[in-house]
């Protein structure tokens, strides 16, 4: 704290401060200089220019602030600039992924793509209908398995488990389950199905089982959290009216938390719908439509993207275009699910009265 008392001499409330115009002026100067350097030495590489400009700006502000404002303010400015820089840095991949998916995905974002499978398609044409329906089937079945188990387990943890050993064990292992690598979930489903029906090349339900392993902990976590947010006063009010516990849970607690739970489930679906590795192992590949969850490999959209990229035919570009169109479709589905989930969470959030 000695630095603070030194910096503020008694009776002196103003200290040296950089004029407001410093920041824009430095910013423009650094950008120009950075760009000039990039042109001179690296053929005008934009990324390099931005990096140089940022570094120059950091140094300039550091020096100016040290001279005018002292080292503490300089450290504060340095931290601010680095933190803002970190945020800007994160936007680069987000922007780049989005932009490339849109620009490259549009090439095959056509009617054929959504109405045809890849059966008997060699070269251009074909579509991803089989993969899109497959994704809906597999994810739908996964949700049908995960939501009841996950929600009931969350109810157990939040409403019945207080202080019980079993509840502690479940909480711990739900945490462990959150960390199961997705491909391991796929291997599990494959191994399970191999024991039940013998060696297979994957089928829809097997993929659903794999996704459930990934989805259940997410559903448990989010539902439990929301159930705990329901004020105890409501439970007590219900008990005091002579309502049994299970009716209190199903008719008072769940309705109060329902929008949050639904939104949590949708976000969980959004998380697993883009999973590739487990489906690669458990659901397999096919070029044809397959609407039977219980037999024969079922194509899914993420696997379709991977397969198109990894195993292209003679005309590589055709396959790449299909892969990007698939990537765009996937992003759109996931974004849509996220949007719906957040809207539900916000629109229907019950007011607790305070």
């Amino acid at each position: 704290m000695t630095t603070i008392s030194q910096a503020l001499a008694p009776g002196q409330l103003t200290s040296g401060r950089l004029p407001r115009a410093t920041i824009p002026v430095f910013l423009v100067a650094a950008s120009l200089l950075g760009f000039a350097l990039a042109v001179l030495f690296a053929g005008g590489n934009l990324a390099l220019a931005a990096l140089l400009a940022y570094l120059l700006y950091l140094i300039a502000i550091e020096v100016a602030a040290r001279i005018v404002e002292g080292s503490r303010q300089a450290a504060d400015r340095r931290a601010s600039n680095l933190i803002v820089g970190a945020f800007a840095l994160a936007l680069i991949p987000l922007g780049s992924v989005t932009w490339s998916a849109i620009s490259k995905g549009m090439a095959r974002f056509d009617v054929d793509y959504f109405t045809m499978s890849m059966r008997n398609v060699v070269g251009p044409g074909g579509g991803a209908l089989h993969a899109i329906t497959g994704t809906l089937f597999v994810t739908g079945a996964a949700a049908a398995i995960s939501v009841p188990i996950g929600l009931l387990a969350a109810i157990y943890l939040a409403e019945y488990g207080a202080g019980k050993r079993l509840a502690k064990a479940i909480t711990f292992f739900v945490d462990v389950m959150t960390g199961v690598p997705s491909i391991v979930a796929g291997l599990f489903a494959y191994a399970l199905m191999t024991l039940i029906i013998g060696p297979n090349n994957g089928f829809g339900l097997s993929g659903s089982v794999a996704l459930s392993v990934l989805m259940i902990p997410v559903v448990v976590r989010s539902s439990e959290e929301l159930l705990r947010l329901v004020p105890n006063e409501l439970r007590e009010a219900s008990y005091a009216l002579g309502v049994p516990k299970w009716l209190t849970i199903t008719r008072v607690v769940l309705p109060t938390a329902v929008s949050g739970i639904i939104s949590g489930v949708i976000l969980a679906i959004a998380r697993v719908i883009g999973e590739t590795a487990p489906l690669l192992v458990a659901a397999g590949f096919t070029a044809s439509m397959n609407n039977n969850l219980f037999a024969n490999p079922m194509m899914t959209l993420p696997v379709y993207v991977y397969d198109s990229y990894q195993h292209p035919g003679v005309d590589v570009q055709v396959y790449l275009d299909r892969a990007w169109a698939g990537a765009l479709t996937l992003i759109l589905i996931v974004m849509l699910l996220n949007l719906i989930g957040r809207l539900i969470a916000r629109r229907f959030a019950p007011k607790t009265g305070h």
Partner: protein
């Protein structure tokens, strides 16, 4: 008119259990059974991986060489190394940036912008891994080729950047960058939450002592958030270790154990090896890949356990309350 038959004892007339109380029992049992189901599933994951992986673990090495991928330990070792190495590189890049972003959202951005900015970062988490793989292989790898040559030429004296630079850009460093982008939102959103929970009183006390914003963060926010950050980093590590597609699609991996990050001699990861070989594998090869999955499962398990242990240990000393 609405009064129940006055008795306090359960059971309408016959003295048997009230149907509603049966509902209580059934519902409670159902909830408990679902909880137990989770334990069963996890036990099943471990058991089935063991059962299906065991033939590879206990097979005669000679048999593994002729029918599998070779003797198990020496086969899986480079991949285990690659898994840990790629994840470490990814975290080294992701952690400082993630903490920066989290601080930006929690303490720097204007209050009205904070939530939308949080969503923007969450969007990054929503992008499917296969899309990141495609992006990394098709856009990122060609884009960084020039940078890699420059690093190799000018900073080649650092062992990390030495060796024969790759011509495709599809090195372990590129894969690590993609992994870093993927774990960034996980670490960010968790750290952001802890930063927001930092006690306001401590923050205001620091400001009242005349601290600058950065000093306030160092005095009041970071010490409070440390266990949370460590947990977030560990969770990110767990994700990076298990992430499959980004590595499968970006890295042209082999089996060399090397710390050089710019060459075309890269160790592959366990997850990517499984994904690449599983569709064509049969018999003992399948068993061997499943056994590799078991190794990966164990590695992530240990990392997650350590994370939990750190959190529970630090929680006692944290300045909260």
């Amino acid at each position: 008119m609405t009064n129940p038959s006055a008795g306090l004892i359960g059971g309408a007339s016959a003295g048997k259990a009230d149907p509603k109380r049966v509902g209580d029992k059934v519902f409670g049992a159902l909830a408990g059974a679902s909880g137990i189901m989770i334990l069963v599933i996890l036990a099943a994951v471990a058991t089935f991986l063991l059962v299906q992986g065991a033939p590879a673990l206990f097979a005669d090495p000679a048999k593994l060489i002729s029918q599998g991928y070779g003797e198990f330990a020496s086969w899986v070792l480079p991949y285990a190394f690659g898994t840990v190495w790629a994840a470490t590189l990814a975290l080294a890049m992701a952690v400082p940036v993630a903490i920066g972003i989290a601080l930006f959202i929690s303490h720097y951005a204007p209050r009205r912008l904070a939530q939308p900015l949080g969503y923007v970062i969450d969007l990054l988490a929503a992008v499917p891994s296969v899309v990141f793989g495609l992006w990394g292989a098709e856009l990122l790898a060609p884009a960084v080729k020039g940078l890699y040559s420059w690093l190799n030429a000018n900073l080649g004296f650092i062992p990390l950047f030495s060796g024969q630079v790759s011509g495709t850009g599809r090195t372990i460093l590129t894969a690590a960058v993609v992994l870093a982008v993927m774990v960034l939102p996980i670490i960010t959103s968790l750290s952001r939450e802890v930063f927001l929970q930092a006690p306001r009183l401590h923050e205001e006390a620091a400001l009242a002592l005349g601290a600058t914003r950065w000093e306030m963060i160092r005095m009041a926010v970071l010490p409070f958030a440390r266990p949370g950050i460590i947990a977030a980093v560990m969770l990110g590590l767990g994700r990076a270790l298990g992430e499959t597609m980004a590595v499968t699609m970006v890295l042209s991996g082999g089996r060399s154990i090397s710390f050089e990050v710019l060459t075309s001699q890269n160790p592959n990861t366990i997850a990517a090896t499984i994904a690449l070989n599983f569709p064509e594998a049969f018999g003992l090869k399948t068993n061997q890949l499943i056994a590799a999955g078991l190794v990966l499962f164990l590695i992530t398990l240990v990392v997650n356990m350590i994370a939990r242990w750190i959190v529970s240990r630090r929680a006692e000393y944290s300045g909260a309350n």
